[in-house]
């Protein structure tokens, strides 16, 4: 059949679009049906007796396209069940989907689900549903983990977790199934009961991971406050609980009693949560009524199901069960946003409990809030706010449930709003809380300077202890409070409670002249961006180096593409300074990087000034690769210090350069040709690295400049690290430094140890300092911060090595540096086969040469750490061999020798100049490439 004949005979799929008084959005929904890639569809618009323009709009749509049919119900049903049943009765296709008139189907929804149901023979197919935020025009997948795998499920008993997907809309059904399982017409939340029945009735269903349904969320509106709405919401909760009971009955009727706990879990995670989230904005009467309402149903639920919830939600359920409505409002506020700590807590036998009584159902130990280091510690600040004119007056009540303030006498407190601070003088109250007042004149604040500011910030209470370290938390205000808008010079300011928890937020929007000026500034910035694109910079650079001679007294230093003042370049630079060499060193710094010591001249990487410095500098010193496309000026000398040695494949053997396009290889070849000297830490490095990069120039083999300090030691380093990372003095320090995975950079996938399991077993004795690779991103979960310190931004990894008691890594080159220290090493290499063969490729068989145990599970790791001394003793011989292989040249004078050799400086009296300054590289006959 050609597509010209898609004028309907029998459609492949009927989409039932239900609508009620939604003339404005109905066309959008219907268009999403008519625009389906499955052309042979019909849209059955079922109008639940609208009183607005819906009928005219729908009839017009049917007029324009014969695939649209209009069904009007005589009386409004007040729900979705009756119109959906009417739609199914009218549908002509063998397959049906449901769509609400305020939502949309994605373009391939019908065809892709249709194909899947034909392929799998399932009773229905369910696909990812996504929330679409109309304000930001972004969508977010809803419960993506349910849909992650494309699969066929043989009945709900095989995957009871799918109860969490109880929408009627994101599915394509066989119509006979819908005729067997109609929607109930006598209640709200008929889809909950429907989906319970559906899951019971379907012997097989299929799941697809792509988004098929866009659930539109309109711009946020003010919270409902009117009396009728309040009661409507209470009735809504009553209906929801009724639907839950009916769903339970359906399960029992079908003999699925064993699935009830999963259904209840769904109720707690989804249904109950809807009301708990908005509870802080309700008045006490409502909360009390809701508690009375929910209590009997919760009492039917097995406490073991409650225990699966996260601790604060568990506390909320306990409070409902005990009818403690007032405390429920306080607890519900900690569910979202900053997840504020409780007002009060008790600790008993190492466990932490919400409130004042240590009872098991109030146990919140798993949050580990009471054991955090000072800078991460948690206080609860509840504020009452008043605005008079442009003055913002705050009365802040501070709760310190874990005794943080008492443990640090001499602390001071301040209210911080952007760069502004107001001193607070808290007074102790009879109930143990602290009360302080602050006033801010918003007109006096000038965020953004002369050009003004568009954006927002959240005021925080900052508590500073006498040694200068501080901790801060946001302020909670009444989430039901109306936003306050006021005018200050050049801006309109909005003070509001943000989110369900009611975090105090102040937002600025430029007005008047500033608004126009900011547009001008944007235009200018855009013009500047266009004029300083990378292509133009490179052209200018190439012109510059033709005419400008390099200055022999200027050197450009760069470490890890501008990430910091560290690595080999740092120690070469320091040696130059120590020698008083007549060379001015300028350091390259990437955007948003700090941690450079004062007094070091900086230039932002890839800025115009950087281009100029590259052209002028007589020396380039770096550890990764200066911008690859930039040719080196003829007389500039380039010292490539590289940044590590080890087992990983490198250069032309690395995955980046192994793909099936030649461009990157040619680029890297040209970049390597710029090097005038290469720092080689060991003979083994030279054997592998030099041919792998097809490097042919001189090699400086005196060890690694960055390892000198590891050879000599630095007694202050441990102190620095312990202080900055707040490591408890009685814990041993495990440095965990995994390398990245080439196929999953910036994903956190390289942190493969189960930190939770480690915390459970080791937190009493160890603390983990986590140092992810620079091309990796990992956020330590809040409940593990008592045990794991993220040292990603700590400026110098040498300090971490010196301060630690053992190293845990996988394939990182850090193992070769760490071997200099002689301290124990452990290797978690669960993905070794994948890594060595496919993911990366290696030159050495790590299990064969590793100077410590190679472990495949966190359990093994815990055992090894518990018995570390014996384990490391058993590896003494392999450790020595490993050091011999990689560290034989580390004598602690690499910086001096490299500087003397490369910059031609005389050695200090007492040490002869090296006999062979720069040796031609040893060329392994053929390396045999990597295996």
């Amino acid at each position: 059949m050609g597509i010209a004949q898609t004028v309907i005979n029998v459609p492949d799929c009927s989409v039932v679009v239900i609508t009620y008084n939604d003339a404005r959005r109905l066309p959008r929904a219907v268009r999403s049906v008519l625009g389906q890639s499955l052309r042979n569809v019909e849209a059955v618009v079922v109008d639940d007796a609208s009183t607005d323009d819906t009928e005219r709009v729908a009839r017009a749509l049917a007029e324009q396209d014969p695939r649209v049919r209009y069904v009007r119900r005589e009386r409004n049903s007040g729900g979705c069940g009756a119109p959906r049943n009417a739609g199914v009765a009218a549908a002509r296709a063998p397959y049906v989907m449901f769509l609400d008139s305020d939502d949309r189907l994605t373009r391939h929804a019908c065809k892709s689900l249709l194909e899947e149901i034909e392929r799998t023979g399932a009773d229905f197919v369910t696909g990812q549903i996504s929330r679409y935020y109309e304000g930001s025009r972004r969508s977010r997948r809803y419960y993506p983990e349910l849909f992650a795998r494309r699969r066929t499920v043989e009945g709900i008993a095989a995957e009871p977790g799918m109860f969490l997907d109880s929408f009627a809309t994101n599915k394509l059904y066989r119509i006979d199934l819908l005729r067997r399982v109609p929607f109930r017409e006598d209640l709200h939340f008929e889809d909950h009961v429907f989906s319970a029945e559906l899951y019971c009735a379907a012997r097989r269903f299929a799941v697809v991971p792509w988004t098929v349904y866009l659930w539109h969320r309109a711009r946020a509106r003010a919270a409902p406050t009117s009396i009728s709405l309040r009661y409507a919401e209470l009735d809504n909760a009553r209906q929801r609980i009724r639907a839950a009971r009916l769903s339970d009955e359906a399960l029992r009727r079908h003999g699925h009693d064993q699935l009830l706990p999963e259904r209840h879990h769904r109720f707690l995670r989804q249904d109950l949560r809807v009301y708990l989230n908005t509870l802080p904005a309700r008045d006490p009467v409502w909360i009390a009524e809701f508690t009375t309402l929910a209590r009997p149903y919760l009492a039917e639920i097995d406490p073991a199901v409650l225990d699966r919830l996260d601790p604060v939600a568990r506390v909320c359920c306990s409070l409902i069960l005990q009818g403690r409505a007032r405390e429920l409002a306080v607890a519900a506020r900690s569910l979202n946003g900053p997840q504020a700590p409780p007002r009060t807590a008790v600790r008993r036998d190492g466990r932490t409990y919400w409130g004042t009584v240590p009872s098991p159902e109030m146990d919140i130990t798993a949050l580990r809030m009471a054991e955090l280091p000072f800078t991460a510690s948690r206080l609860r600040h509840e504020a009452a706010l008043a605005v008079r004119g442009t003055r913002l007056a705050l009365a802040v009540r501070t709760y310190d449930p874990f005794g943080v303030l008492a443990a640090h006498p001499g602390w001071t407190a301040a209210l911080r709003l952007g760069p502004h601070r107001v001193r607070l003088t808290p007074r102790e109250q009879p109930d143990g809380s602290l009360l302080s007042e602050a006033a801010l004149d918003l007109a006096a604040l000038r965020p953004g300077g002369r050009l003004g500011f568009d954006g927002h910030c959240e005021p925080k209470v900052v508590v500073t202890r006498p040694d200068g370290r501080s901790t801060s938390d946001v302020l909670l205000v009444d989430p039901a409070a109306e936003p306050v808008r006021l005018a200050v010079p050049g801006h309109r300011v909005t003070v509001r409670a943000e989110g369900a928890a009611g975090v105090l937020r102040v937002a600025w929007r430029r007005q008047g002249v500033l608004r126009r000026a900011s547009r001008l500034a944007e235009l200018k910035a855009r013009a500047v961006r266009r004029l300083s694109g990378p292509r133009l910079k490179l052209r200018v650079y190439k012109g510059l180096i033709k005419v400008l001679p390099p200055r022999p007294d200027l050197a450009l230093f760069e470490s890890d593409v501008g990430a910091g003042y560290t690595g080999n370049p740092r120690y070469v630079h320091e040696e130059l300074r120590r020698r008083g060499a007549p060379i001015r060193a300028v350091w390259s710094v990437a955007r948003n990087r700090r941690n450079f010591p004062p007094g070091v001249p900086l230039v932002r990487r890839m800025s115009w000034r950087y281009v100029w410095t590259m052209a002028r500098a007589g020396y380039w010193v770096d550890s990764h690769g200066l911008p690859l496309d930039y040719p080196k000026p003829p007389r500039t000398r380039y010292l490539q210090t590289w940044h590590g040695q080890g087992i990983k494949s490198i250069g032309f053997n690395s995955p980046d350069l192994r793909a099936d396009f030649p461009g990157p290889r040619a680029r890297w070849r040209a970049a390597v040709a710029r090097w005038d000297a290469l720092v080689a830490p060991s003979a083994e490095f030279e054997r592998i690295f030099v041919p792998s990069n097809e490097y042919t120039g001189p090699v400086l083999r005196y060890g690694s400049p960055r390892c000198d300090v590891l050879v000599h030691g630095d007694p202050a380093a441990a102190e620095r690290v312990r202080d900055r990372l707040e490591l408890p003095p009685d814990r041993r320090v495990l440095l965990y430094a995994p390398t990245y995975r080439d196929q999953a950079k910036f994903s956190g996938a390289s942190v493969r140890a189960d930190l939770e399991e480690m915390a459970g077993a080791l937190a009493g004795e160890w603390v983990v300092v986590l140092r992810p690779h620079p091309v990796e991103r990992y956020r330590v979960p809040a409940h593990l911060r008592y045990f794991v310190r993220n040292a990603a931004s700590y400026p110098e990894i040498n300090d971490l090595m010196l301060a630690s008691d053992a190293l845990l890594t996988d394939y990182s080159s850090v193992m070769c540096d760490y071997a200099v220290t002689g301290k124990p090493m452990l290797f978690l290499i669960d993905d070794w086969d994948e890594y060595r063969r496919v993911e990366r490729g290696v030159y050495h068989d790590l299990p064969a040469i590793a100077p410590g145990p190679c472990l495949a599970t966190t359990g093994e790791l815990i055992c090894a750490l518990r018995d570390l001394d014996a384990v490391s003793a058993s590896f003494a011989a392999k450790y020595a061999a490993f050091r011999e292989l990689w560290c034989a040249d580390e004598k602690g004078e690499a910086s001096a020798r490299v500087v003397e050799d490369f910059f031609g400086l005389a050695p200090p009296a007492g040490r002869p100049r090296p006999a062979v300054p720069a040796r031609p590289p040893v060329r392994a006959a053929v390396l045999g490439w990597l295996r």
Binding site: G2, R39, S112, D660, P662, D845, P847
Partner: protein, 413 residues
């Protein structure tokens, strides 16, 4: 016209030949349609086949090839080039020119389909395809290759908005549907250029390695494995090769591999390195570098081969395996993609080994050369080769063209 017919892109006309299926306009767009390469070969083969079936076929190269290659002697389709320059970044003016020329060209064509052959073409001209041409995106690489480069982002970001996203194997289509969440995947294998009537008798003691001598083909691994299979001893640089879990005794089978040669057919930048590697492995006299062989003479090579070795780091759908199979030659291959798996089922139509596991590759080669268990290698080759030829039937041009026409029907369903 209003309604669905007004939106319908392909005002189909019945073909003169009376084949039953309607004829469409089919546009293929490549970055450079006339450069020597796998994607281009497939495009021209399919274009010619569809044109011979009565479709109105156009092949567009966005850029002129630096060294144009003629794939089809007497093309039954139309060819167009947008820019006279070789592929590279476009100036603002160039982009405007592209927009204008494509509009002028595409607007005068009848309703049908526009097949965009790679992520770079899709990202560049997807928005320029007029509504009467339904856009279909092709991706010739494997999911694994895409995951390691910018392709995955391009495919997952753009292909879902096309009518269909076409991959070279069902496995790859599945991976993209699951991990890139594409709702519109489809798979069509690449076609063989022809179907031979004769098959190899599999008696010559010759292993074939066919492809450009470039790093991605990893002929070094093929040479290492071949050396191991011949029993020439451990090749150098093997430090990281063996690891825990490798089967013991997967080493060389000792003698009995006498007279076997490895013929590498193709040319490229790696030749010197590969020669040195063969010397270092002690098989310099058994590895024959044959240079490039014209397509017309490849039949003789396949007929003279007994085993094909596929050692690539990445492959989409390796047509050399299909071609060898069509001559009844079985393959030993690294399991690097769904495309490879669609051709080689382990122990049915060839031998499949884990990616980069050279020892396993060597053991598999040895099984087909002179097995350690004393089995009949020639008999094994014949059994696998015959099954491989049956499997390769799915890659016969007419089957692949049927699949394309099926796709067109499906798009307008």
């Amino acid at each position: 016209m209003s309604g669905p017919a007004g939106r319908s892109p392909a005002r189909s006309t019945r073909r003169a030949g009376g084949g039953g299926r309607p004829a469409h306009t089919v546009v293929f767009a490549c970055l450079d349609a006339d450069t020597l390469g796998g994607v281009q070969r497939v495009t021209h083969t399919v274009a010619q086949g569809l044109a011979e079936r009565g479709h109105d076929v156009h092949v567009i190269g966005l850029h002129r090839a630096a060294r144009p290659f003629r794939y089809v002697e007497r093309p039954a389709y139309h060819r167009h080039v947008v820019h006279r320059t070789p592929a590279g970044p476009l100036s603002r003016l160039g982009r405007r020119r592209e927009r204008r020329r494509l509009a002028a060209l595409l607007d005068r064509l009848g309703p049908g389909f526009a097949v965009l052959s790679s992520p770079s073409v899709v990202t560049r001209i997807r928005a320029l395809i007029p509504r009467h041409l339904l856009a279909i995106g092709q991706y010739h690489g494997s999911y694994r290759h895409a995951r390691g480069s910018w392709h995955l982002r391009a495919v997952s970001g753009h292909y879902g908005r096309l009518e269909k996203a076409v991959f070279v194997s069902e496995d790859d289509a599945w991976s993209f549907s699951e991990h890139a969440r594409l709702p519109n995947t489809w798979s069509i294998p690449n076609p063989l250029p022809s179907w031979p009537s004769r098959t190899s008798d599999l008696t010559a003691r010759r292993v074939l390695g066919i492809g450009r001598l470039e790093g991605v083909k990893r002929f070094d691994r093929l040479i290492s494995a071949f050396a191991l299979a011949c029993g020439a001893g451990e090749p150098p640089g093997r430090a990281g090769g063996r690891a825990r879990g490798d089967p013991p005794g997967s080493g060389p089978p000792g003698d009995g591999a006498g007279g076997w040669e490895l013929h590498l057919i193709g040319e490229g930048a790696e030749e010197e390195r590969l020669r040195a590697h063969a010397r270092a492995c002690g098989v310099a006299d058994r590895v024959v570098f044959r240079g490039a062989v014209p397509a017309a003479e490849m039949a003789r090579e396949y007929l003279g081969g007994s085993v094909l070795g596929l050692s690539s780091e990445h492959e989409g759908l390796p047509l050399v395996v299909a071609e060898a199979a069509s001559y009844g030659v079985p393959a030993v291959a690294f399991d690097v993609s769904g495309g490879v798996r669609s051709l080689v089922s382990d122990r049915e139509t060839g031998l499949l080994v884990p990616p980069a596991d050279v020892d396993a590759f060597a053991a598999a080669l040895a099984e087909l050369m002179s097995p350690a268990d004393g089995g009949d290698a020639a008999e094994r080759r014949r059994r696998l080769g015959a099954a491989a030829r049956v499997r390769a039937e799915a890659f016969r041009p007419e089957r692949v063209l049927d699949r394309w026409e099926e796709l067109f029907e499906h798009v307008i369903r």
